[in-house]
Every structure is written in C-alpha cells, then in structure tokens.
C-alpha cells in the first residue's frame, strides 16, 4: 500500500552511465546523468525537457529501472511508492513494469507489435499481472478508447497497428498505458512524430485522460510549448544535469537560467522579406502521379521563386511537398504542366537534363547521416562535386574544400573526419557545404532542420540565411514547421492534399483572412503560453457550434 507520507516517485542523486564498444578500441564509459533528483506527487505531471542527449528519456526510463542498450543506473535511489525499485531484482521489476509504471513511446507505429491485433496488446499487462478477467479488461479498454476520443471504440481493438492512423495509434498506446490502472505513466515525446493538426487533438486527449484517471505522469519532450500545456512542474535538463526545476508558471514566465531563457525565446531570427523579382524557378500547372497508381499526388501546382529568395513549402505529411521536390529535380517525371528554370524549360525526367541543370539545382535532405557515405571523409564528400562539376584536383580541390568548410563555420580539421564523428548539426552543415560546392542557383532543402534540436536548428537557419546573402542562392524550403517558415521565408506556399491552398509573400500568407485549412494549421502550432490548449479548443468548439 502506498504510504501517504511519501511522494509517489522520489528520485535521489541518480547517476546513469553507458558503456559503448567502438570497434578496435577499448570500451568507453560515459556518464549520461550526473546526480539528478526529483519528486513527483500522486496525480501530478512533471515535464522533463531538454535537447537530445540531455538525458530526459534516460531519466524517464530509470523510473522503470530500465536502460536502453548499454545504459546502467550506477548510483542513487529510485523510490516508488515508498520502496527503492533498484533493489527489487528482476522479479520485482517485472511486477512493477506494466503494473505500477507504464510507458508511452514516441513512435506508437514502431512500439506496437505488427503481428497482433491492438486489443490483445492493450490488455496484455492487465491480464499478465492478473488484475482483471479478459472480459473486464476488454470493457475497460473500450471505455478508455472512448475516453481518448478514438473512432469506433467497440471495434478498433480488432484492428492491426497498420490499419489505424498515427494519431489514433498514439491514443491507443495511451489507452494501453492506462489500462492496468498504473500510478505513474511515462510519456516519452508522445506527440513529436505527429502532424501539428493531429498533435493538438492527441495532446488534448492525453491531458483529459490524465485529469480523469488521476494518474501521475512524467512528460518528456523537447518542445517547451507542448509541455507548458500539460505539466504542473518542469525540469529543464542539459548534458545530464538539472538546469532549472520549478513550477510550470515560473519556468515559462520567469525562467531564471540563461539556458532556459534561450529555450523559451528560441526562433529569434528576424527575417525581412525581399521585394518582388522575376522568377528563377517557375512551376506552372504541374500534375504528377507515381507509377502504377491512378491518383494525382500533385494537382495543378503553380508557384514561382525569384533568384536569391526563399520559397517555403509548408504542409503536413502526405500533402505532396516532398513529391514537388522530386518533380523539380526530375526524379519523378511530371504528368502535365511545365517547370522553367533560369529562363529555360527543364526536361521532365532526369535523363534529359543537361549537366549544367544538374549542377545549378542541388538538394539537402532531412536525414544528414543517411545522405552521406559513412566510409568517406568530410573532405572526400565535399570534394566530390568539385571534381565532378569543375574538374578540380589536388591542391586546388583541397583549398576549395577548405573555403567551403570555413563558410559553414567548421575548421580545417574536419576534412579528415568521418560522418560518424560529427554531431547532428555538423552533419547537416557538411551536407550544406556539399550542395554549395556545386555553386548552385537553387538549393532544395527538404525538412533540413526537422531532425535537429531547436537551438542547433536555429544555427543552421542562420547559416543558410547568411549564405543566401553572400552567394545569392535561392532556397525551396520544404517544412512542416511554421516557426521555421516565419524565420526564413520570402514567399510561402501552403500545401494540402496535393494542392497549393494558399500562396504569396510571407506577409500576405500569414495575415488574415485565412482559408479554413491555413487557419487550422496556424492555430494548431503550440504557443509558449499557459492555457493555450484550452483557449484553442474552446475557440474551435464555439466556431463548431456557430456553424
């Protein structure tokens, strides 16, 4: 029985280490968490926030005494319901996991077993810990499905994970976590992988479920605006240490530490849009579909991009924004319409394009680490386009690589390093240098900052803007993140279901009156403001009632 005198969870001086085994070298042990302490009362929500590598997931999982890979808890105490779970042994942990503490993962799509129907997985712990009969557990699961606003709550449990959408799956995972009536749920970035308009619904469902079941929660995220909507307290972490720990009000409205202030005021870039100019890239009435399908992924898309400017293409997954990039580069031949670039019409397919067209149109991808050959050094990677397009060799090539490394604010020492030795932000910088090496007139940036932490992403955006000012290169910037758009765009195209919903200069697009979809999109972006979620939902309900 829980002792009313003690908090539900009391973590004291937690130290977590990880051992890695790099090939050909002695094992390396690094400390991930350096003596972090926290307490959580019954029914409260604590937000753990920080950038990647801050140790937030590691700390969250430590409350189930679980370490991923070679991660071990080497010091401190994790006291749950009055007893130290680190001393419970394997059997004690099995009794605790999935019973007292449950877990909601970032990617529900990966966290569900693809071979089993949802219901079986949702009620699995409730049955394995002997809490209820199968019939009772199924009734409870259906109640939770209903509570979380899932469609067809009676029958959705019979479906397989691939048969429901990502947002629904995340809610089913929340139901799975709540089913055994735990004392504590760990939410590990539960809405990060979702589209912004889906995120708001899932966030509201999770918040309501926490409220109605009275469960305590650790809510892990890198997005301060999201955590401000659900948490009672916030702990800001960096490099495995506590930076700031206080009530949500204090941390959001009066942050004490410089690092927290930086997080709160991130996206400080002030970009003034450039004046109208004749287009460098002109896309006219383009329609495209993938081979073997009878469905247009792009429908009658027309947009222009002037030289040296940035066109942001915004949309959610499935809106056709990456397909547009494939059509422009010629990877996917367009069906109808035409694309002109620098005064000439581009051949619809890659094979028909002149080498000069290829050189002037470069691309940077979201996943920098898979866009580089892991067995080539940075120097080789950047040097390749120099050789290929300009025939540079030897000393000339080395010097140009050096210049490019300087441009991306990385030193000469990086030329001999391999991609695996770089951080996420550095990898993306190398990809930018590789694109620049071709001296292009247009770079297509496909979600280039989406996989990066906010502060690092900011650095990349600033670099891109700098390079644009110096080199006069134009960007077609594909993103789902409206904050990024505001920071860098001169023009914006909002895409929805393969069509351009709204297009114009930044000022025009971001000013009312909005069309219905743009309004939904803009109002769904979490704001760093307490009570924002309730305001938006109340506003939407009123509008819904008015219709």
């Amino acid at each position: 029985m829980p002792d009313p005198q003690h908090p539900l969870l009391d973590i004291r001086n937690l130290v977590i280490e990880a051992t890695s085994y790099p090939p050909g070298e002695p094992p390396k042990t690094v400390t991930l968490v350096h003596g972090v302490s926290l307490t959580l009362e019954k029914g409260k929500v604590l937000g753990l926030i920080g950038e990647s590598g801050a140790g937030k997931s590691t700390i969250g999982l430590s409350s189930m005494a679980y370490g991923r890979g070679g991660v071990r808890i080497t010091g401190g105490e994790v006291i749950l319901n009055g007893r130290d779970i680190l001393k419970g042994g394997a059997a004690g942990l099995r009794a605790l996991r999935g019973r007292e503490v449950t877990y909601v993962a970032q990617s529900a799509a990966a966290a569900f077993n693809p071979a089993k129907p949802l219901m079986e997985q949702v009620i699995e712990t409730t049955l394995s810990h002997g809490l209820m009969s199968r019939a009772e557990a199924e009734v409870r699961a259906v109640d939770l499905f209903r509570q979380l606003g899932l469609p067809n709550p009676e029958t959705i449990g019979r479906r397989f994970p691939h048969q429901v959408s990502g947002g629904q799956l995340q809610r089913v995972m929340t139901a799975m976590a709540l089913c055994p009536k735990p004392d504590l749920v760990i939410f590990d970035e539960p809405t990060t992988a979702l589209d912004v308009t889906t995120q708001i619904d899932v966030l509201a469902a999770i918040k309501r479920a926490i409220h109605e079941t009275g469960v305590a929660a650790l809510y892990i995220t890198h997005d301060l605006a999201v955590v401000a909507q659900v948490a009672d307290d916030i702990m800001v972490l960096r490099h495995g240490r506590t930076v700031e720990y206080g009530s949500v009000q204090q941390v959001i409205e009066a942050p004490r530490e410089a690092y927290t202030q930086a997080l709160v005021s991130v996206r400080s870039i002030d970009h003034v849009e450039k004046p109208e100019a004749p287009p460098l890239l002109s896309i006219q009435n383009v329609t495209a579909r993938y081979k073997g399908t009878n469905f247009d992924v792009l429908k009658n898309v027309s947009v222009d991009l002037p030289a040296g400017q940035t066109l942001a293409v915004v949309g959610e997954s499935g809106s056709g924004k990456s397909t547009l990039a494939r059509v422009i580069t010629g990877l996917l031949p367009l069906g109808q319409g035409r694309i002109s670039f620098d005064g000439r019409v581009l051949s619809p397919d890659l094979a028909g394009r002149a080498p000069e067209d290829l050189r002037q149109l470069q691309m940077i991808y979201q996943m920098a680490d898979v866009a580089m050959n892991p067995r080539q050094t940075v120097g080789t990677i950047i040097g390749r386009p120099l050789e290929f397009y300009f025939g540079l060799r030897g000393e000339a090539k080395r010097q140009r690589v050096q210049e490019l490394l300087d441009q991306i604010e990385m030193g000469a020492g990086f030329a001999d390093r391999y991609p695996a030795e770089l951080s996420g932000g550095q990898k993306q910088r190398v990809c930018i240098a590789r694109a620049l090496a071709a001296k292009p007139k247009l770079i297509i940036c496909d979600e280039v900052t989406s996989a990066l932490d906010p502060l690092v992403a900011d650095g990349i955006l600033k670099l891109l803007l700098d390079l644009q000012a110096r080199e006069g290169v134009a960007y077609l910037f594909i993103t789902h993140d409206l904050a990024t758009v505001k920071a860098i765009a001169d023009r914006i195209a909002v895409m929805f279901k393969g069509q351009v919903q709204r297009y114009g200069t930044k000022t025009d697009v971001l000013a009312p009156p909005y069309d219905e979809y743009t309004d939904l999109l803009l109002s769904s972006v979490p704001e760093m403001k307490l009570g924002w979620l309730e305001q938006v939902l109340a506003h939407r309900r009123m509008e819904g009632a008015g219709n």
């Binding site: 679980y66 999935g98 993962a105 990966a110 077993n113 394995s128 810990h129 397989f160 691939h162």
Partner: protein
C-alpha cells in the same frame, strides 16, 4: 472482390507450375537431347549396330525430339511415368512405393527436427552469448559439419552395436505396423535430424535476434513480461517468414538429398532407387525421379512462399 492474398497465392501457384514445366524441359534435354546417343549409352560400347537400331526404334528415338517430349509429358499428365528399361515394368507403382518410403523417413525426421530446431533457436535467443547458446551452437555446428555417412556409422556403432537399442538395418516391408516401421527407421531419422537441425536452429536464432532490436520488443519488456514470453509471443510471430524458408529448404533436402543415408541403412527409398537406375542406365526411371524431385523442391518452396504471405499481417488484413 477476392481477398488480395488469394490473388497472390494464386500467382505463386501458377508460377510454381510454370517452373515445374521448365524443370521437365531441362530434365528431358539433359537425358535425351544432349550430344551422345541414348541407345548407345544404355547398351554400352559392345553393342552391335542391329541391337542399337532395335533399341532406337523401341525408344522412339527416330521421332523428332519435340514430339518425343510431348509424348512423355502427355503420359505424365495422364499419370503414366513410362516403362523401366531394366525390367520392362511400369515405373509408376515402383516409384510410388519408394517415394512413400522416402516421405515416411523425411516426415519422421521433420516432425522431430522442425519443432526442436525452433525451440533450440528460442532458447539460444533467451540465453544469447551465454553458455546454453554457445553449447547449442557448437553442437549443431558440429553435427552439420560431420559427413552424414560418418554420423551414420557413429550412431550404428553406439545405438545398434554397443547398446543394442535400434536396428542397424532399416528393413521395411508391406503390412508393417506403424510402431515397427518407426522402430526400423530410428537410426536414419536420428542422422537426418542431426544433419538438418543446425541450419534451421541458426536461422531461427538470427531471425529472432533481428526482431529483438525492434521498438515493440522494448514495449514488451516495459510491460514486465517474462523474457521467454517476449521471445515466443512477440518476437517469433514476426520472424516466421525467414524461418519457414530455411525449414522448407531443409525439408526438400530430407526428400531429395538422403541418398547417402539410405545407402548406409539399406533403406528402400527414392535415393537408392535413383542411384540403382543411373547405374543401369535406365533413362526413363532417371527422368521420372528427376521430375519427382523437382516437384518436391518446387512444391515445398511454394509452401514457404505461401506461409510467408500468410504470416504478414499487412497482407492478411489490408487497410
């Protein structure tokens, strides 16, 4: 509209039949059309021109190859495998009896080997890199590395000669009771199990270890499930497709590749039958055996394909 899985399965079956047809062409070309005279090779160097001419006429070798092929194929489709040259009897009944013997031996070995291999694979994953895993790996590797005839003689020496548990000769005859028959094939079954266990066990282990990296295995661990339950309930169902493929290749081997074991234990199966008739240059029998072996191989791989399709929840339950 028919279920998409039905369509895929139908495609596989059609492809299998096509493949079998191609195999029949290869077998026919290999035995009858390649350079060299069939009649000559049957009768040997000492044959007189008259006997050669007679045999050619008897075999229909003076007909064009294409019409001979279709006559042969037509006969097979009507269930007529032709007549053996060595004794002039129809091939069908003799081969049928031998095939039944081989399938009995292979079936008995498979019934033991497949569940045992999967179970050992699961145990290996449960104790990976610890001593049970290492022992299982070492033993199964050793048994597939030792030649089968040697394995055969080792089990004969201990189980038949020293301890007198099982008969060293696998004599079977019509009207034998099932228990007697199983007793008779005890030793060859043991040898075959040891010969195929290693591949299947290692594939099961590798396929499950691959699945164990998935995020949903972490979910299962965080649910507080027992390690063996995680492996058997959450990992194995997602590893069926690769495992089934290796199982089927090994089952095919049990049918097609057991010549040595049959010889060691003097077991009247397909392997011995084929070898005997190759020695006698009995071309129609060799052709019939070839076709049966091809059918077994293609059939078992077809089953593997179909099981893999059925094991995929995305295909079984489309959106």
């Amino acid at each position: 509209m028919a279920h998409p899985v039905m369509k895929m399965v139908a495609q596989r079956v059609a492809l299998g039949l096509l493949l079998l047809l191609a195999a029949s062409v290869l077998i026919f070309v290999g035995t009858q059309i390649l350079p060299g005279d069939v009649a000559q090779s049957i009768l040997g160097q000492s044959a007189t021109p008259e006997t050669l001419a007679n045999l050619r006429a008897e075999l229909g070798l003076n007909e064009p190859a294409l019409s001979r092929y279709f006559t042969w194929l037509g006969g097979i489709l009507h269930g007529d495998l032709g007549t053996a040259l060595s004794n002039g009897e129809p091939i069908g009944p003799a081969l049928g009896k031998r095939l039944a013997n081989t399938l009995f031996l292979a079936g008995a070995a498979a019934v033991i080997a497949v569940p045992l291999a999967v179970l050992l694979g699961l145990v290996s994953v449960r104790y990976r890199n610890r001593w049970p895993d290492k022992v299982i790996s070492a033993v199964t590797l050793a048994t597939i590395s030792v030649p089968e005839f040697l394995l055969g003689y080792i089990v004969v020496f201990y189980l038949a000669v020293e301890w007198r548990l099982l008969p060293s000769l696998s004599t079977v005859y019509d009207g034998m009771a099932l228990s007697e028959r199983l007793y008779a094939v005890g030793l060859p079954v043991i040898v075959l199990v040891l010969a195929v266990l290693g591949h299947m066990m290692r594939m099961t282990r590798a396929a499950i270890l691959n699945v164990m990296q998935s995020a949903y295995i972490e979910t299962a661990e965080l649910k507080g499930l027992r390690p063996f339950a995680i492996i058997a309930k959450h990992a194995f169902p997602n590893a069926i497709a690769p495992v089934v493929n290796v199982v089927m290749i090994n089952l095919a081997y049990l049918v097609v590749g057991v010549v040595v074991v049959e010889v060691v234990f003097v077991y009247p199966g397909m392997g011995q039958y084929l070898v005997d008739h190759v020695a006698k240059r009995d071309v129609p029998v060799v052709q019939a055996c070839g076709l049966v072996f091809a059918g077994v191989y293609i059939g078992l791989n077809l089953v593997a394909d179909i099981v893999s399709i059925l094991a995929n929840p995305r295909l079984r339950h489309p959106k």
